[in-house]
């Protein structure tokens, strides 16, 4: 090719092949992750491919072309949006790493385009493209299929690159990553609720007959045809109908967009090469920092120093680590979501026995207890070694972690209990509240102890928030955390069964409530006492814990 340095291209393609191969020959965990991705997305993509192929062949006009447009535009949108929330789809070659070498922007662009042929997402797109080829190649549209699909693929890669290079500084910013982790997780958790809500709204306010008429007359390709890959679907449709002039015009339109977008990409690459960063709007001027005094709530001040300082640090870190902040937000959202599911599921017949709400509180309290207390040492991240280097009493460290975990787990319970007085009789609800506190105490005691005995690495990487940690915890820690924790919590929680039986079985509300208060003291006491053995174990096992939680070297 004229102007292309073929030796460099060969080297870069070879590098990409080696990187792909090493994903399979390196760490076992990565092979498993790749297999999981293929097992989850493979059947999904295959299913869509087969369904779309059936649609192309079986349905009457204009639906095959509408489906084709939908598939091609959807792929293009996924490639454009995914880098914003999930990171780059085509990781083929990080162009910023090539900036130190004498590689022209044309060579860089070519290397990226060829490199994408060795990316997972490309493999996943193949069945969809195969379905298009298999269905449309036998029509008069075959030349437009042969030309159009490579153009569609180039459109996908280029739009992903434009987003990545153009908005790289924003996408890579820590704040943006943190925000996307939280937003995505909350959306994920609320999915059922949202879909049920939308269904209810549609059922209530949308006339089904007119909706059906609308859907039958809807021609999305009329709008999608103006998008880069939508026009390819229109070209194929027109080609199949024998309108070669129109088909060529639509393909030419797509090609024109490709040239335009390709130019934009090259300009952005140029800016990257010459060090002009691209950002939306003007960059913020650096602000002079004002020294702030640490804000401490009145309630935290009740704690003695240095317990107060450590609890404050624990709370700050829980909020600032996005993976943990999700837990804090979900602790408040989940009861609302559970209630929503119950109310929308059709099981709710308008009558509600509020006596059982207290029991729900007890059961629910286990979720934030696990969320805030489990594997607590791993969440120290890099700071764990610093913590182990200090001479601070290990008992004090666990007391602080226990207090924080109990406070955070009790917060949603304390928030919802007053609201629940509207739907529940007070005595069973109060009993539930105190037993929830007791259960949080017992649960916290167990997870604190297990965090020393069976720690496992966690992913704290803001750039790969949904990835598995590079190292796994091993079979025994996983088993003990999944099975051992609830078993031991159940055993220690046996005394809590007595007030439950009294209130909800024998309906002796007052004795049950008094016993529940005693159980709350018991649970919190167990948590406090357990700090001793946990601290003792910690002091004995610090190097081993660090080793179990350390990131793999040389990666």
């Amino acid at each position: 090719m004229m102007g292309i340095n073929t030796a460099q291209q060969r080297t870069l393609f070879g590098l990409r092949s080696r990187l792909l191969w090493r994903q399979f020959t390196g760490e076992k965990g990565r092979i498993i992750s790749a297999l999981i991705v293929l097992l989850i997305f493979g059947p999904m993509v295959l299913g869509i491919s087969i369904a779309s192929a059936v649609g192309y062949i079986q349905l009457e006009a204009p639906w095959p072309a509408q489906i084709l447009g939908g598939v091609l535009v959807l792929l293009w949108v996924v490639w454009a949006v995914a880098p914003v929330f999930l990171g780059p789809i085509n990781v083929s070659i990080d162009v910023s790493r090539l900036l130190v070498y004498p590689v022209t922007r044309r060579d860089m662009a070519t290397a990226v385009l060829f490199g994408t042929l060795l990316d997972y997402p490309t493999f996943l797109v193949l069945p969809l493209f195969a379905a298009i080829v298999a269905s449309w190649m036998w029509s008069l549209a075959w030349p437009f299929v042969l030309l159009g699909l490579p153009i569609a693929y180039l459109h996908m890669v280029i739009i992903g690159q434009i987003v990545m290079v153009g908005a790289g500084s924003i996408l890579n910013s820590r704040r943006f990553r943190d925000l996307s982790i939280v937003v995505f997780s909350i959306l994920g958790a609320s999915c059922y609720f949202i879909s049920q809500g939308v269904t209810r709204v549609l059922e209530e306010f949308v006339d089904l007959e007119s909706a059906e008429t609308f859907l039958l007359t809807w021609r999305p390709l009329d709008q999608l045809q103006w998008l880069p890959t939508g026009s390819i679907a229109r070209a194929i449709e027109q080609g199949a109908a024998g309108n070669f002039g129109l088909a060529t015009a639509w393909l030419g339109y797509s090609l024109l967009l490709l040239v335009g977008l390709g130019y934009v990409w090259l300009v952005l690459l140029d800016r990257l090469i010459t060090g002009q960063t691209f950002s939306f709007g003007q960059a913020d001027a650096p602000k002079a920092a004002k020294p702030k005094r640490a804000r401490r709530s009145f309630k935290l001040k009740l704690l003695p120093e240095p317990l107060q300082s450590i609890v404050l640090k624990e709370i700050i870190l829980t909020w600032r680590i996005p993976q943990r902040r999700i837990g804090m937000i979900q602790a408040f959202l989940l009861p609302v979501i559970f209630s929503g599911i119950y109310l929308f599921s059709g099981e709710f017949d308008g009558e509600f026995n509020g006596r059982w709400v207290g029991l729900f509180l007890i059961g629910y309290s286990y979720i934030p207890t696990l969320g805030f207390g489990s594997n607590t040492l791993a969440w120290e991240g890099q700071g764990l070694a610093m913590l182990f280097l200090t001479p601070a009493s290990r008992r004090l460290i666990f007391q602080a972690k226990t207090v924080t975990s109990i406070l955070l787990a009790a917060l949603p319970i304390a928030f919802f209990t007053p609201l629940l007085f509207f739907i529940s009789p007070p005595l069973p609800l109060l009993t539930g509240f105190f037993l929830a506190l007791g259960f949080i105490g017992v649960g916290t005691a167990v997870v604190m102890l297990f965090s020393v005995w069976f720690p496992y690495p966690v992913n704290m990487d803001p750039k790969r928030p949904f990835a598995q940690p590079e190292r796994r915890g091993g079979f025994i820690p996983t088993l003990m955390n999944v099975i051992g924790t609830p078993l031991l919590t159940g055993l220690l929680g046996i005394p809590l069964a007595l007030p439950i039986a009294l209130v909800w079985w024998f309906e002796w509300a007052w004795p049950g409530l008094i016993l529940a208060v005693i159980c709350a003291v018991y649970g919190l006491g167990v948590a406090w006492v357990m700090c001793g053995p946990a601290a003792e174990q910690l002091l004995k096992r610090e190097p081993e814990i660090l080793d179990a939680l350390r990131a793999p070297e040389g990666d």
Binding site: R174, E305, S309, K313, R320, A385, M386, L389, T390, S393
Partner: protein, 267 residues
């Protein structure tokens, strides 16, 4: 004789079949500025981790100011300040919060913690960035933060692993002055660095480790004498000789003849 600040006896660390540190024994007296050198992968960081209690040795003992690191870990750690290789920072705290936290964990009074934190932030030129999260810091800022946290309690023994790497000249000077002051007040400094000029200038005694074994130790004069080098030889000369790299490197450099005839360059 001065009291012993750091003592390692027969320290050994084996990872599977690889022996990273083999039978290492050394003694550092109170108030010494002790340089600990070695090529990459020689076992420096492994040794430091064993001395400060972050890595359990396969054999041998380590004591800090007379406290066995593994028998009385909290007493030993109370004497220590450590700037480790990996820095070990709480990335989601800001510098002020982190240094304060470190001070609290070393048992300082709240008033002292607050005062020393502000002084250290000023010294390290971190005041303007003190409210930014550490995760957003440059490497140099992270190192200065870690160093501030390591010295906030005025430790009796300070371990520094590559303290000047990635730090600007102004901060290097400030840190050197702090280290001088710490040493004059009796703090023992165990200093590991690849910048040999700095080691030669600052350290009173130097040890060289290679392939897990201690191959040389002493003052500059003693090292010159042992290596039978001339009195003007630098630490770099002595170091290369001690690890056996001098001759090998000279041969290898000689082979790079293609470096001589650069186009357009006059001889």
């Amino acid at each position: 004789m001065k009291p012993i600040a750091i003592e390692a006896k027969g320290l050994k660390k084996q990872f599977d079949k690889k022996v990273a540190v083999h039978d290492l024994s050394l003694t550092v007296e109170q108030g010494e500025f002790f340089g600990f050198l070695g090529p990459n992968g020689a076992g420096k960081s492994t040794t430091i981790k064993m001395l400060v209690g972050l890595l359990r040795p396969s054999a041998g003992t380590a004591t800090i100011s007379g406290f066995d690191v593994w028998q009385e870990p909290l007493k030993a750690k109370a004497q220590l300040g450590v700037l480790p290789e990996g820095l070990n920072l709480y990335e989601r705290l800001n510098a002020r919060e982190f240094i304060r936290f470190a001070g609290t964990m070393y048992g300082l009074e709240k008033r002292d913690v607050d005062q020393r934190t502000e002084e250290l932030l000023a010294l390290m030129d971190l005041e303007d960035a003190a409210e930014k999260l550490i995760v957003d810091y440059s490497q140099g800022m992270r190192k200065k933060t870690a160093l501030a946290a390591a010295i906030i309690h005025a430790p009796r023994v300070l371990f520094l692993d590559e303290p000047f790497e990635g730090i600007d000249a102004i901060s290097v000077r400030a840190i050197r002055q702090v280290l001088d002051r710490l040493r004059s007040s009796g703090t023992t400094i165990f200093f590991s660095s690849h910048i040999l000029e700095v080691v030669q200038r600052l350290c009173t005694r130097i040890a060289v480790i290679n392939e897990g074994e201690l191959v040389a130790a002493g003052t500059m004069a003693e090292l010159r004498q042992k290596a039978q080098s001339d009195p003007d030889s630098t630490l770099e000369d002595l170091f290369l000789k001690a690890v056996g790299a001098e001759e090998k490197q000279n041969t290898q450099i000689g082979e790079l003849s293609w470096l001589d005839g650069l186009p357009g360059a006059s001889a």
